[in-house]
Amino acid sequence: MAIDQFIDNEVKGNDVVLFMKGTPQFPMCGFSGQVVQILDYLGVPYKGLNVLENEELRNGIKTYSNWPTIPQLYVKGEFVGGCDIVREMFQAGELQSLMKEKGLPVKDTAPA
């Protein structure tokens, strides 16, 4: 299977997908780790894909989204952003709203 087809299947076949360096249990990069922490805090189930295990995936995901860096978060097939955007949205409460809008379970967290 071509790599872009593989990526497309993952992105569209899972509600929340994080392309990252390392795994949710062992992030290998601080930026990936921050997004993992945010997702874990929200309690949203997600699939982590480790780009360090696959050079083709590492390059393919950058082309797929026209985005030069890892991590990359996708929700319901849509590219949400990298670490900076995810953190900014989380701090503003927008990430929580996005998840709820898409019908995804978010742990009730105290409003900021």
């Binding site: 930026f31 950058k62 026209n66 985005w67 030069p68 860096t69 590219f79 949400v80 952003g81 990298g82 670490c83 900076d84 955007i85 900014e88 949205m89």
Partner: protein, 78 residues
């Protein structure tokens, strides 16, 4: 080869002429920066699109020569 903050600022401004760019060298190693880019031309664009404009201005340096650039974009206030 690390980039210096001036070069980053110049590239961003060349790509986004109305951008107001602030760059901080986070670790003092010329390799980890935080940039704030404010531009009226961002209006109506999503955060992803705003960041993509900045990345395009950096002409492929991002993720390569430039390892770490924390990016925040926004519109001018008032």
């Amino acid at each position: 080869m690390p980039m210096n903050a001036n070069d980053i600022e110049k590239l961003i401004k060349a790509g986004i002429p109305d951008a107001e760019v602030t760059i901080r060298d986070l670790a003092g190693d010329g390799d980890h920066y935080a940039a704030t880019v404010i531009a009226e031309s961002f209006r109506g664009k999503s955060r992803v699109q705003q960041h993509q404009l900045v990345y395009n201005a950096l002409k492929g340096q991002m993720g390569g020569t430039l390892h770490a650039l924390a990016l925040q974009t926004g519109l001018p206030e008032g």
